[in-house]
Structure formats: structure tokens, C-alpha cells
Symmetry: C2
Subunit: 337 residues, 2 copies
DNA sequence: CGAGCCATGGCAAGCGGTTGCCAAAACTTT
DNA sequence: AAAGTTTTGGCAACCGCTTGCCATGGCTCG
């Protein structure tokens, strides 16, 4: 079965060296620093290596250099389709740079985040943390000992990429205002969500400028299931529009409204955030703030790689804010009556 | 910035050893084989280690032993929400076993699969490949040199887990037959998909037993976008029911039908496979064959771990077939007229 | 009280590459 | 032709941890 593994039969540079009649160091150089050896020698080594099926053991290479060509990405909830885009973007960019990506689910827990970073520390070149639930202090502290970039979170002196929430939320409010809405209820997500707090703040501010009343209820679990309670509570407030922490919650609200015979948007308008898979074909299709999340995954990886490659020097692009835009679909409409 | 990294400041067993006044080997044993050292010594070492913030370097540990406590999972298309169940299950189980999971997208390419396995070979304890696009021969060959388990694919002598397609597809046909359908069109997915081939075979067989005519068209890309062409083609066949390669395609078909003013299920019934996120809230909600994909991720990881732990001996459960069940929703109905 | 065990800890040799340093060989340059 | 460069390849140390083997000393047992 797996007899080939664990030192079983895999050829090493020593095998190649003997076979090619050179020393191991020459093989090493021939493979990773071809200019350093005679072209003819390099060719011979390459030929032998190919013939023997030699593959460099990345572990062994990583040990002395500390460079593993591996990156880790942690998401707060791998269940949330929102992160699909992030993961895909990160994976893609990592692969393009010849790196391997480790994906981990931290299950909304700051402790799990910290523990994973400690554990994986020496085995990866850096971390991307999406929607971190850790405190600013913890993040700052960890970023002193590890290369770290953030997605959907800003902390002083830690490179990050977020999609614009202030401007995007302003667009939501504007859209709702133009439809005649005068009272908005915000359906809050996880208490530790930095992004959630920002969204609420931006919403309250923008609404204030329009003389629209706002209210925040929750917190609700940011899931479709959580939408049931959120819908009931929202309906109870009498607001004509509900802005949900994210699309998962918004879709759950839509479902619950359908169950209860509440018409969307005739009775209440619903808005989400993220434009996840499904937001365009739920019913009614959801009006939501779309962001370039694949791009954010890519960018966060890029910044990480930049930090690694010129170590110590902070990347040129330090705090990236990606644009967002409102995808207006059918869950929003004129205010009732 | 990252000065703590790459040999910078992280304490090693040597630091702990000096501080505790013992030799490095004693520290090593104290940490990983406590029975081997005096309890008092072990306690002292533990205390010092904790005080210094020592964390064992998994890379260094893996080099001599060949055991990395890392598993790799490859999916054919990380875009497909279907795999998120698989990923989640695998990630969870891996973590429970103290392992780290690497997730990779092979983008429907057998070459990428093979290359990744070669590359990661020595750095992981084994591979789970979901919906592999490689040939049986390639898989057999690779499984000789690497620990390997398969999801949604069966190859002789390679442990695998699939969700039942024969029985499930029979249920689909039965359901359709009971609604009066006499002709079914199958919308094919990727040509290299083993599962797709199986689904079609089961469908043709089951339909034959009911005297229902079947036809297979395609291949279509297994994506929502691919559903447009699939819908048009399906409608062209005059069949009263369409069974799509997977839910992504089925949802795309639903959308296209809506666009074209074709009523589902009044004009045509649509069935998918996988019961992905969104299948229950698209419109109309999709009738689909649901399988336990999280469970399949977990099981595949379990089998891999079992192979690793008693090396050479094949796991007890070798070819697992998980049950499936038909989730009947609103995309299927009585035959037209 | 001496022989034999066992518990305990240290030594040193790896694991598979990388890399600084040195020496020999091959060229240049004057 | 002598001296100075450059190219090329080898030696050996090292990355951090594991582990087989050995030495020591305390105990047990006869």
C-alpha cells in the first residue's frame, strides 16, 4: 500500500548526487540556483533527477530557511457562502505564487484563531484572517510575532483589505429613502463582528443625514435559520425596511416572511450585505450590497507575500478599501400604502 | 514587524533544556512521551516550557518521523457549493484528530490533481480527492505511493466513500413516473465525471424498468451559467422532465425557464442532485437528491487516518456507500396537460 | 551484601535540504 | 610566464526535533 511513503523509497538529493557523480550540494544548487553550477553539470543533474523521479521535499527545505511556501487562511465560519469567494481568491493567488494554502474554520471563536496561529506559526509563511473575532490588542500582539493580514477588519499597523462599508451603506440608505422609507431596522449579527458594528454605525449615520429613524435589534446568528427570529422581531418594530447583517440572515428573513404571508417588498423591504451565492435567485431576489470578495482574498494574499518577500518592510498598499456597489433586485420596493 | 519569525526568537527545546537544566532529549521526551521521564522532571520541563512560551515546531518534528499531521483535500471545483459540505466535514474531522487540512482546487484537471499530489507528497500524511478527474489507472498508480481516499469515485482497491446513486436515482425515476412522466432528458455534466456517468447509467436503467424513454444531452458546464444552454436544449427535446447533472445546473435551468416564461413544473419538471445551499430557496424550490456530503468528508478523512495509523492495513470500512434521499420540493409536478 | 533490574537522562546520529567558506581549476590580464 | 580573477564543486555545519543506545545510580531480591 503506502510503502513508498515516510522515507520508504522516495529519492533524495543524495541518491541523485551519487547517480550523477556529484556532491549533494551540487544537486541542491543545480535545482534551486542553476546559475551557480556549470550548465553541463546542471543538465546532467536534471536528467538524473528526472529519471529517478526526484521531487524536492518541501518540508526539508523549509526547516533551515524557515520559508515554507505555505499560507494559512482562517475564516470565522466556513459554512457561510460569503467566504467561498474569499477562499477561492486566496487559493488562486496563493497557487499562482507557488504557495499552498491551508484553510481553517475558526467557528466564530477568538480562542481558536489564536490557538491555530500559535500552532501553525512555524509551518507557514503567514496568515490571512477573514472577519477575525479577536480583539485589536490580541491582533496587534500576534502581528508582532507572525506575518498577518486581515480581511474585513482594520487594526492599526496591520495590513488589511476591506470592502467599503460607509459608502455602500450610504447607497443602501439612499435607495431606501428614495423609495419613501422613513424607518429602518438593522438586524445585528455576531456581537464580536467588527464589520457588523461598522455597518450599523454607517447605517445610523447615513440615515440620520436623511432624517430616517433607525433601530438595531439582535444579535441574531448570521445564518438562514437565524432569519426566522430576526424577521419576527423586525416585523414587530413596525419599520418599513430591514437591513440585515448579511445575506444569510436576509435570506432567512425572506423565508420567514413567506411563511408568515408577509409580502416582500410590499409589506417590508429587505436588504442584505455580501451578494452571496443564492442572493440572486432566492425569492424575491435580494437587494444587497455587493463587494469584490474574491478580489479581497487575492489582495490579502498579495500583501502577505509582499511582506514576506521584502521582510520587515510593510507593503506599499497597506489598507486597501475595495469598492462596493448596491445590487438592486426585488426585495426592496416603495414603502407600504 | 515579523522579527519573531524564521528562527528569530521562537524558543526551541534547546532553550527550554538549558533553562530547565536538562538535555534537549529529555525535553523532547517530556513533551511527547511523558512516561519516559521522571514525573518531577517532566513537571519542571513543562513549567519552563510554558513560561518561555515554547511551541513545538511541527515542521521539525515531521522531518525525521515523516508524520506531518496534515491532510490534503482536493476538490474538482471549489466554486461548487456542493463541496462546501465536504470541506466542512473533512476540516472538522481533521481538526478533531489534531490534523491540519490543506484544501486545493484542481479546476477539473487531472493534471493538476497529479501534480499537486507529487508536490505535496512528503508534506502530508495523505490525500482525500473528491470527484477526481483522473483515470482509474492513474489513481491506482498514485495510490501505491501515497495514502489516498476518494469521495464520489470508486476505483478497485482504493478506499472510497460515495453517496448512493443507484437507489437515489431510482427514487427520482419513481417520483417522476408517479407524476405521469414518460420521457426524461438527462442534462450531462463534465465528460470526465465518474459520478455523472453513474448517474446517467442509473437513470437509464431505472427508467427502462418503468418503460420511460430517456435521452442524454450535453455535456454542459456544471454551473448556473451552464443552465441556460441546458434549459434551451432540454426544452427542445420535448421531454416533460429534466434531470440535471447537479443542482448548479438545475438552478441555472430554473432561471432560464423563468426568463423564457416556461413554467416549472407546469411545463417541465426539473430535478437536481446534491441538495446544495440554495436548492431550498430558489424558485421554485428544487426537487433534488440529497446526500450526506459532510458525512462523506468526515468518513474519507477517517479512513485516511485509519490507513495512516495502522500502516499497510486497509481500513475496515473500505468502500462506504452513504444513503441518499429525495428531497421533493416544487420543481417537479404532474406531467403537462 | 552482592548481583541484577529498572528507571532515568544524556549522547549523538539522523531526517533532507541549504549555504558559507574554501580550494582547485580554468581563464584573464599584463 | 607570473599573478590575479572567476568559475565550479565539495565540505561541513545547521535548521529543530526524535530516538536508539548506553551509562549511571537506586532498588529489589536472594
Amino acid at each position: 500500500m503506502a510503502e513508498g511513503r515516510a522515507g520508504g523509497g522516495r529519492p533524495t538529493i543524495y541518491h541523485v548526487a551519487k547517480e550523477a557523480g556529484v556532491s549533494p550540494s551540487t544537486v541542491s544548487r543545480a535545482m534551486s540556483n542553476p546559475g551557480r553550477v556549470n550548465a553541463a553539470t546542471a543538465a546532467r543533474v536534471a536528467e538524473v533527477a528526472a529519471r529517478l523521479g526526484y521531487r524536492t521535499n518541501t518540508l526539508a527545505r523549509a526547516l533551515p530557511s524557515g520559508r515554507t511556501d505555505t499560507l494559512a487562511l482562517f475564516v470565522s465560519d466556513i459554512t457561510n457562502p460569503h467566504f467561498f469567494g474569499v477562499i477561492r481568491g486566496a487559493e488562486h493567488q496563493a497557487r499562482a505564487a507557488g504557495c499552498t494554502l491551508i484553510v481553517g474554520d475558526t467557528e466564530e471563536s477568538p480562542e481558536v484563531e489564536a490557538r491555530n496561529i500559535e500552532r501553525l506559526g512555524p509551518s507557514v509563511d503567514g496568515f490571512v484572517i477573514a472577519a477575525s473575532r479577536m480583539s485589536d490588542e490580541e491582533i496587534t500582539k500576534l502581528s508582532a510575532g507572525h506575518r498577518l493580514t486581515l480581511i474585513s477588519r482594520q487594526v492599526a499597523d496591520v495590513p488589511s483589505v476591506i470592502v467599503d462599508h460607509a459608502e455602500g451603506t450610504r447607497q443602501i440608505v439612499e435607495h431606501l429613502a428614495s423609495l419613501g422609507h422613513r424607518s429602518i431596522v438593522f438586524l445585528g449579527g455576531p456581537p464580536r463582528s467588527w464589520l457588523g458594528a461598522r455597518r450599523w454605525k454607517s447605517l445610523a449615520a447615513a440615515a440620520g443625514r436623511h432624517g430616517i429613524s433607525t433601530r438595531r435589534i439582535g444579535p441574531f446568528p448570521p445564518t438562514v435559520a437565524g432569519g426566522a427570529a430576526a424577521a419576527d422581531a423586525a416585523l414587530g418594530t413596525g419599520a418599513t425596511a430591514a437591513v440585515a447583517h448579511n445575506d444569510l440572515l436576509a435570506i432567512g428573513v425572506l423565508r420567514r416572511c413567506a411563511e408568515r404571508g408577509v409580502a416582500v417588498p410590499a409589506d417590508i423591504s429587505v436588504v442584505g450585505y455580501d451578494d452571496i451565492f443564492g442572493a440572486d435567485f432566492c425569492s424575491p431576489p435580494l437587494t444587497t450590497l455587493a463587494g469584490q470578495f474574491e478580489e479581497s482574498g487575492r489582495t490579502a494574499v498579495d500583501m502577505l507575500l509582499a511582506m514576506r518577500d521584502r521582510d520587515g518592510i510593510r507593503p506599499a498598499r497597506d489598507m486597501v478599501v475595495l469598492p462596493s456597489h448596491l445590487a438592486i433586485r426585488h426585495s426592496t420596493g416603495p414603502t407600504p400604502r
